[in-house]
Symmetry: C3
Subunit: 169 residues, 3 copies
Amino acid sequence: MTDTDVAARLSALEERVARLEDELSIHRTIVRYGFAVDAGEADATAELFTTDCRFDVDGRTMEGSAAVRAMVLGDGHQRLLPDAAHCIGPAVVEVDPDGRHAVAVGYSRIYHRDDAGITLFRLGFNRWELERSPSGWRIDRRTTRMIGHEEAQGVLRSALVDANKGEAI
Amino acid sequence: MTDTDVAARLSALEERVARLEDELSIHRTIVRYGFAVDAGEADATAELFTTDCRFDVDGRTMEGSAAVRAMVLGDGHQRLLPDAAHCIGPAVVEVDPDGRHAVAVGYSRIYHRDDAGITLFRLGFNRWELERSPSGWRIDRRTTRMIGHEEAQGVLRSALVDANKGEAI
Amino acid sequence: MTDTDVAARLSALEERVARLEDELSIHRTIVRYGFAVDAGEADATAELFTTDCRFDVDGRTMEGSAAVRAMVLGDGHQRLLPDAAHCIGPAVVEVDPDGRHAVAVGYSRIYHRDDAGITLFRLGFNRWELERSPSGWRIDRRTTRMIGHEEAQGVLRSALVDANKGEAI
């Protein structure tokens, strides 16, 4: 092997390992959203998003991580605690080859407990667009649509690929 | 280090990284099945399987990806849309050392929404046997068994290992 | 590149790949717990734990893998079979840089089927502390708390990080 061969194989490996690390890191980021909101941690929730993020829940949109923080502290969310569980996934994560952007698509389920038992009261179809920041991956856009509408199906469809054409369907 | 040492370490790393990529790719494949059937995309569903696949649902078997495609377009499935969510996992994926075959074992849950709320109407125990194709991993065999029978328990048992013997129990 | 440069890059890659393998291996270990208990395999369940493990369920603690084995064989658990599904996750896994210890945090859901349908009767918030053994990762401590109490929220909180300080909140 020439020195050039060795350098090329090392660089290729470093790229591939970085993309694997990214993929697992992004799974952790979107799952941690559930931990943060279920624990009522507004700051930790906001830190998962970019400052100028857009979080669209069935057409009602939070603009900026300050709005996400306010949502966690708001009556609507606080009323659910400590009886809520936001379970994210399964999800498919795809990282851009440059390692700076990524998209995740998948399901989310919100459970609520009361004396009668545990109810699954929201099942959402989600698309997350993430950006790498100096302190890790952050959510720049999240779009979530309640199950039961064509638009929700479109969210899932965006993660399918036409294998014959190698492009999104 | 000799040139031989370097080449051996590079090759070993390339193998290990390829197996990690395979494991994550297979998780994406089995999760995308849910996206495809929930979006009603018959072609995208069929493309996740090998042409001569076998998909066995409680003993009723679809033979070939054309039969899987027909299932998505059939009345039984279409009646569920757009109110169905097929959530795959958690699953354990094991890739053969040669990187050509893999087995995944895990749970699947099918939810249906109507005006009364969201119902989990099927919980399955699954075994997927996958093959590498030029365009990625494809499902060659899927066996799913509804919870509540010994045979279903056997599906999960097939992913357990006798740590003392290093072989399946 | 000098020989030293090549050796350093190889070593760094080998470390990173080992940590990725660890993270995926640990996901498989905690998910296999579900397979083992749902299949009623007491030995396979016990083998997922260290000999002197501590498994704390809402304050009732099993001490040692022999106690975990006895739990699987006990009336309380056997009564659920073959109608139980223990679905682990989503979870966040973090491996110590030395590759000898790891922590996983996440949700668990126990479903039970009967003629009336499928009920989610337990939703837990969990922390697993794992150790590497010669035969793979084992669970040394598991703490699970039923949803609906501040202590349960604390389990999830332990996996959140103050991004400004780089330390746990």
